[in-house]
């Protein structure tokens, strides 16, 4: 080999590379898009089995294909239930035990090989099958808790499914009846004012038995629903593509909304046929940087604001920066229906028996600093478990112990019998082993240490964290809870005695008066009455301090102005059938990029 050949080869490689790079760059520009909506997801979806749809992204994906009996009104707030597969809202018997639903006629499942070329209409038996499937222990559904002990005969069905080799779906369940094809009668064991909310959740989506039988274990990869979209491509870990279901029945955009909605143009499409968008593309971005950059380049329509990009996008007064507003980006701020909290194991001898000690913890915790450091100011202090937006939330309610006051903390410590922290044992703070949790625990150790409370941190994996909490093998830990449905009961149950670990009452808090009030709350349907009961429960909660209340988070979201009809829905997000894209505006704006 001589030096000439080597030199020419090197030059050729370099020139080739430059040409290739430039041609790639050019090919990316100037693309015009059709009626497509591009949505970011931060994790892989579990699949399309509604019985397993317990995470937000699975729920969003499932609801494009499957439907439930009821749904939340797209515009009305507080959240209001409206029919979806039901023809109208059900009639409820006077004793609150029997719900009679009339179903829509002429609703068909999407064409699928499992139907062997036949058109398949949705009937009441499909609903009964879908509920039985959640109850079947072999389905391993994460949604059994919504029916547990609530529907007549369903617990027995579940028990039998556990004992037998194959589950007998022909077995009659007293509480699930279909007197005719379009009538579904649900009978409860006791009144449950939350029951209707359950019929908006993924778990109660209607699935056809033929599809479950046909696809077996692979059913989760073959959704066959009645919904507005069909799954047309699923590249796991990369993207999901949905196309408009050509057989979708005539559903219309809502005509009712508030004056605010009208002003925001959210009623411009009132009465028009749904869905508006032909194709939905869900792109998976595990890291926040590619999601952010793709949004800024106009490759996706919406995004949350990653912690690292917050200052780039938002002014100190929480308004949008001009650079973004100039790009026709809108900022949406909405309160999330959630609560974060640090909780004591009330079965711990020292912590559980000494309310002054727990109050000392509460006073020592600097909540404002926490909101600034950990949430970029995107949260408000929680004074009770109930978040804003729900019945029972009172902005004037002040929890006397939700206050950073080291002097009071020291006084409470003294009242607790440990002046200056003397003779006080070192407590263990159980933490998850991720970066945020570690930063959180460091702050906790520091602030408690400042008043004389010594803390040691144990960081463990998430399964081990849950294992220790659910087996009551911890002293102090932190968690968050997001609403499953817009009812304060969903938050107050976090402290109901019988829900102690492994249930949702992680603090293992027990107070007979609180429990009695909770049971009363369960049966109450009147909002005013509910508020009164919750007020009493909140007072008990505040005095007993089983938690150091954390925050209610604020959801900051960005979207381009070419996305129309977008209304934040924290309980059941992913209402893409209502969205419309101003295609010309998008193409025009993207051309300028």
């Amino acid at each position: 080999m001589n030096s000439g050949i080597l030199r020419y080869s090197t030059y050729s490689i370099i020139i080739g590379l430059i040409i290739a790079i430039l041609s790639i760059g050019c090919s990316q520009r100037g693309k015009s898009l059709g009626n497509v909506y591009r949505y970011p997801m931060v994790t892989r979806v579990k699949g399309f089995d509604p019985a397993l749809g317990d995470d937000i992204y699975s729920h969003i994906s499932i609801k494009q294909v499957y439907e439930t009996l009821l749904q939340y009104h797209h515009l009305k707030r507080p959240y209001e239930l409206v029919p979806l597969l039901a023809e109208s809202m059900p009639t409820i018997s006077e004793d609150g035990l029997t719900y009679t639903f009339t179903l829509k006629k002429g609703v068909y499942f999407q064409d699928d090989p499992c139907f062997k070329g036949e058109k398949r209409e949705f009937v009441a038996e499909d609903l009964i099958y879908s509920i039985k499937r959640v109850a079947d222990i072999k389905t391993k559904s994460t949604g059994w808790w919504i029916f547990d002990g609530r529907i007549r005969g369903l617990d027995e069905f579940r028990k039998e499914s556990q004992e037998s080799e194959t589950t007998d779906y022909t077995r009659t369940v007293e509480g699930l009846q279909a007197p005719d094809k379009y009538t579904f009668v649900l009978t409860l064991t006791q009144p449950c004012s939350q029951m209707l909310y359950f019929f908006t959740m993924s778990y109660t989506s209607v699935v056809p038995k033929e599809a479950v039988d046909h696809y077996g274990e692979e059913f989760l990869n073959h959704p066959v629903g009645t919904g507005p979209y069909k799954l047309s491509e699923w590249r796991k870990g990369l993207r999901l593509v949905f196309t408009k279901n050509p057989e979708y029945r005539k559903e219309h955009y809502p005509s009712e909304g508030s004056e605010e909605d009208k002003e925001a143009g959210l009623l411009d499409d009132a009465g028009k046929e749904l869905p508006f968008i032909d194709t939905l593309i869900f792109n998976v971005y595990v890291e926040s940087q590619p999601q952010w950059l793709n949004f800024m380049q106009g490759n996706i329509e919406v995004t949350g604001i990653p912690k690292d990009n917050y200052n780039q996008a938002i002014n100190p007064d929480k308004s949008l920066k001009n650079e973004l507003a100039d790009k026709e980006i809108n900022l949406n701020i909405n309160p999330s229906l959630d609560v974060t909290y640090t909780f004591f194991n009330m079965e711990d001898k020292t912590l559980g028996s000494n309310v002054h000690l727990r109050r000392a913890f509460c006073y020592a915790w600097d909540i404002d600093k926490n909101i600034k450091l950990m949430f970029n100011d995107r949260a408000i202090p929680a004074h009770s478990p109930v978040p804003p937006g729900l019945v029972g939330y009172d902005p004037d309610f002040v929890n006397p112990y939700q206050k950073f006051d080291p002097a009071l903390a020291k006084k409470e410590l003294e009242k607790a019998g440990f002046p200056g922290g003397k003779r006080l044992p070192t407590f263990e703070y159980l933490s998850n082993d991720n970066t945020t949790a570690r930063q959180w625990s460091e702050k906790f150790v520091k602030e408690m240490g400042d008043v004389g409370i010594k803390i040691t941190v144990t960081s463990v994996t998430w399964p081990e964290f849950l294992n220790r909490i659910k087996n009551k093998k911890f002293q102090i830990a932190g968690m968050a809870w997001s609403a499953d449905y817009p009812d304060p009961e969903n938050f107050m149950q976090l402290l109901y005695g019988p829900n102690e670990a492994p249930g949702t009452n992680n603090a293992n808090y027990k107070n007979a008066t609180y429990d009695k009030l909770y049971e009363e709350l369960l049966k109450t349907t009147d909002d005013e009455q509910k508020s009164l009961i919750i007020k009493k429960m909140k007072d008990i909660f505040a005095e007993d301090c089983p938690w150091i209340p954390g925050v209610h988070r604020l959801a900051f979201g960005l979207s381009y102005s070419w996305v129309k009809n977008r209304k934040y829905n924290d309980i059941s997000p992913g209402n893409f059938k209502y969205l419309r894209i101003d295609i010309d505006k998008r193409n025009e704006l993207l051309k300028g990029k």
Binding site: L220, R235, V460, N467
Partner: protein, 310 residues
């Protein structure tokens, strides 16, 4: 040679057995109980017990271990705790995207590394050599994350030369792989060049090189014909050992560039404590590593006639 290969395969069995034992202890004994994570937030003790029974986690540990051994010998790793997908299918689907990034980047990077180190050896002590060493050390000192963040921001977002992220099968995927591939090459080049340079310099000072020059051979002939061939043993060791790991791609690159490969799958599994997936990837990695070692030994014999496999 055949008997040597068979002997090495038999010798590898205890190693793999050890790997299975360690992964089983790490994930099944001390890794925490996955049931609470899987059962959903509203479940009671009955549901927890039922799921534990369904997953076989209520059985004695030795039975769980035998079940795990059965899974790996049949390559049927069960289903993922997090995504509920069949793990063997997940690995099959993830391998393509990982290899589409890793193989070209690895080979291109290695060849470039060898060429640069040969040239460096040729011009040793001169400005080109010193500059290359400085750049290699600097390249090695910068975290891959910095290259990714800067590359994605400046080359993809600001200049629009590349797509920010994404992946497509076949030739349509090339535009998406250029930037992550480039970063892979840059990141690996620093350490490769430094290592290969040392190997080349060791060889270039040998007597046979002086003899070759004395016989009147040209410098490129000496370099490519004689030096490179004799330097191949350590180079082969480094390269072949790295090949088994290509199947997992690059954890960070795949995650940042939304390449749906095994690297991104592994991170997802680690983040969600998806133990069956982590166990499967670890075992396959160990299997390929052991296989890679055997292949390396065979390559020694092919590259250097002095090496005999006994």
């Amino acid at each position: 040679m055949l008997s040597y290969i068979i002997r090495r395969i038999i010798q590898a069995i205890p190693t793999l057995f050890g790997v299975t034992l360690v992964t089983f202890i790490v994930f099944n004994v001390v890794g925490g109980d996955p049931v609470y994570q899987m059962v959903g937030k509203g479940a009671g003790q009955k549901e927890i017990d039922a799921l534990r029974r369904e997953l076989g986690l209520d059985r004695p540990l030795y039975q769980q271990y035998f079940f795990y051994l059965k899974q790996i010998t049949t390559f049927d790793f069960g289903r993922s705790y997090a995504t509920k997908q069949k793990i063997s299918q997940m690995i099959k689907e993830g391998m393509g995207p990982s290899l589409s990034l890793a193989v070209p980047a690895f080979f291109f990077g290695s060849i470039l590394g060898i060429i640069i180190s040969l040239l460096v050896a040729l011009y040793r002590g001169k400005l080109f050599d010193r500059l290359t060493v400085v750049l290699s050390v600097a390249g090695m000192s910068v975290s891959v994350l910095a290259y990714i963040i800067a590359g994605q921001y400046y080359l993809a977002y600001m200049s629009g030369l590349f797509p920010i992220s994404g992946w497509e099968p076949g030739l349509r995927g090339v535009p998406f792989l250029v930037l992550p591939g480039l970063i892979w090459v840059i990141v690996s080049l620093g350490s490769d060049v430094r290592f290969f340079r040392t190997v080349m310099l060791d060889e270039i000072n040998q007597d046979y090189v002086r003899t070759a020059y004395a016989k009147g051979l040209g410098k490129y002939r000496v370099l490519f014909r004689h030096v490179l061939k004799n330097a191949m043993i350590p180079i082969i060791t480094r390269l072949v050992i790295a090949i088994p790991f290509l199947y997992t791609g690059s954890l960070l690159l795949e995650n940042f560039f939304s390449i749906p490969g095994l690297g991104s799958m592994s991170i997802n599994a680690i983040n969600s404590s998806d133990f069956p997936v982590i166990k499967a990837i670890t075992f396959i990695g160990a299997l390929l590593y052991v296989g890679g070692n055997i292949v390396t030994d065979i390559c020694y014999a092919l590259a250097d006639p002095r090496v005999r496999l006994k």
